[in-house]
């Protein structure tokens, strides 16, 4: 832990956990009788409780969005670039809440948590969770925190999908929805990548049909492969060329299957590091939540009809080199929002960093993001700058 935190960081943060005893009905038909959500907050909730902002995390994210934990390596939360004093999600104005989603392995109830019926970890018996389920559980969290209406619900990628779902499912409980590098539903190609990732895990002999906890082992190879594959889709061809090119680690070809090119060693490193902090059953669940996301499906596959009930105002941001959820996918969202007569602004940011750009401090991106949220802050407290 650094002695002093950067002045634009929220600094030292401590997660909290809320226990829920009110059963949560899920889209799959099953019910979670009891569950826990771990979350962090930054900034101060005002007396009117009108300045709360919900951050929704993406596939492998968690509740630790900003600041630093005690006693850890000095590595800040996953969205440190966007959250903090003077940053787009300005903690001088907003009370920021970020929770870990159900089904995760990072502290909220998920496959690694004990199943109250058996006392053993849920493992593969944990129900398949959808984006709608997450939104429902996040609404419960809001209730517990005394937040009736979010000033904004904000997320990138899968997090952006949650922001959109919020606007559809709880139209009167948010003022603004910010969906960054998102899509209205996954394409066949997106699902195909997820399926290969799942097959990598499912076919690992150490997976034991999801009961690997009992064997004291993790499907290391499968989860690592899944992450390596996923990681390729988070970067762009251009970005990888700039970062790695065809650089050889030893400067020459060795005519074997060791990691020779820099990009190979990078992906292997990413894969290994991921296995240390993530759970294979959770990875399966998260990719399914992505595949199932399709808010238009409940409205005769008419996305505009889905947004018809939304009252929030929207900001949609995409990145030119993002081929996972390309600008064209964001434009589908924008098109439907306009057809539904929703208020929306859309910005396409030039970037070579692919899908992962949403986590990066690209000046144009940060500037637009900040300008939008300054307006949200002005609506809350008229004297704010």
């Amino acid at each position: 832990m650094p002695d002093r935190f950067p002045p634009d960081s929220v600094g030292l943060v401590t997660p909290r956990t809320l226990h829920f005893d009110q059963p949560l009905g899920l889209d799959c038909g099953r019910t979670l009788t009891t569950y826990e959500l771990i979350y962090e907050t930054y900034g101060t909730l005002n007396a009117a409780r009108s300045n709360a902002v919900l951050i929704c995390h993406a596939l492998s994210g968690d509740h630790h969005a900003a600041g630093y934990h005690a006693g850890e390596q000095p590595k800040p939360g996953w969205w440190e670039s966007a959250i903090g004093p003077g940053k787009p999600i300005d903690t001088r104005h907003f009370f920021v809440v970020c929770c870990n989603n159900l089904g995760s392995c990072r502290g909220s109830t998920g496959p690694t948590s004990p199943n109250p019926d058996t006392g053993k970890p849920y493992g593969p018996d944990f129900p398949i969770i959808t984006v709608r389920d997450w939104v429902r559980s996040q609404a419960r969290l809001a209730d517990s925190l005394g937040i009736t209406t979010w000033a904004a619900v904000i997320g990138g990628s899968l997090g952006g999908m949650q922001a959109l779902q919020w606007a559809i499912d709880f139209p009167d409980r948010l003022g603004h929805a910010v969906a960054i590098a998102a899509a209205p539903k996954l394409s066949a190609q997106n699902i195909a990548f997820n399926e290969v990732a799942r097959q990598a895990i499912l076919s690992d002999p150490d997976f034991h049909e999801g009961h690997y906890y009992e064997h004291g082992i993790v499907p290391h190879r499968g989860l690592m492969l899944a992450r390596m594959l996923g990681h390729i889709t988070y970067l762009s061809d251009e970005g990888m060329r700039t970062k790695f090119g065809r650089e050889l680690r030893e400067g020459k070809l060795n005519f074997n299957f060791d990691s020779e090119f820099q990009v190979e060693s990078y992906l292997r490193h990413q894969g290994h590091a991921f296995v240390e902090r993530f759970d294979a059953n959770t990875y399966l669940l998260m990719t399914k939540a992505l595949d199932y996301f399709d808010p238009a499906a409940d409205f005769n596959h008419d996305l505009a009809a889905a947004f018809q009930r939304a009252q929030a105002r929207f900001l949609v941001i995409s990145f030119t080199s993002d081929w996972r959820f390309s600008p064209a996918r964001s434009r589908e969202i924008v098109k439907a929002l306009i057809a539904a007569r929703c208020e929306v602004s859309y910005v396409e940011i030039k970037s070579e960093y692919g899908h992962d750009t949403f986590l990066m401090p690209i000046p144009r991106y940060i500037e637009m993001f900040k300008a939008y949220l300054e307006r949200v802050a002005r609506e809350i407290t008229p004297d704010a700058t």
């Binding site: 924008v334 306009i338 208020e343 602004s345 910005v347 637009m368 939008y372």
Partner: protein, 197 residues
């Protein structure tokens, strides 16, 4: 606000839906929103202008007009507005068609290339004109299609576009008897409200 935008806002019914092509910093849309309860969106390609729109709370959609308006369904808007942009787009005719597809009416303004000072500079000086409404040199200009009031009306006739309203003004956006009698000679800026055939 630019005086031509004042004239346009008088043409627009309160409470209508508007699309502004090349909305710049969003001044017109802000005015229409605040004074006429208009639900509007602006299309803009310049990042600095987009930022200004976002700061002003204007709905702005990052768009390249040359790519057409395929993101918009037919009859989405009451008015589609294009102020002093038609001369700067490559596919003029297609964009006019698109305007009147997604909007029930189109509002177009453009600098008149047949303004007498342009004629004099070209005819007597032998040079591409530079006037207040067309301030660019020929080698550094956003304009790709310069045209006149007569040209535009011929195109409207050819395409069976109805001219519902027309105002021709000078640089200060004043009209006068002379401008009404000899619009193509004395007019610097033309404003049209267009309807479908």
């Amino acid at each position: 606000m630019r005086p031509d935008l004042n004239i346009i806002s008088e043409w627009i019914r309160a409470g209508s839906r508007v699309l502004d092509l090349g909305c710049g910093d969003g001044a017109l849309l802000a005015h229409l929103r605040d004074d006429q309860q208009v639900n509007g969106y602006g299309l803009e390609i310049d990042a600095d202008n987009i930022l200004k729109c976002i700061q002003a709370g204007i709905n702005v959609i990052h768009t390249d007009l040359e790519a057409g308006l395929s993101d918009f369904d037919d009859d989405t808007f009451d008015y589609v507005i294009m102020t002093q942009t038609l001369q700067a787009v490559q596919h003029t005719e297609r964009l006019l068609d698109e305007m009147l597809r997604v909007g029930r009416e189109g509002i177009v303004t453009f600098p008149n290339f047949a303004y007498w000072k342009c004629r004099v500079q070209l005819a007597l000086g032998g040079l591409m004109p530079v006037v207040k409404t067309l301030p660019h040199t020929w080698y550094d200009t956003p304009n790709v299609h310069l045209f006149t009031i007569r040209d535009f009306e011929a195109l409207c006739r050819h395409k069976r576009i109805h001219v519902l309203q027309r105002i021709v003004v000078d640089y200060a956006h004043r009209s006068s008897l002379g401008l009404r009698v000899l619009p193509n000679l004395l007019g610097e800026l033309a404003l049209y409200r267009l309807g479908r055939a």
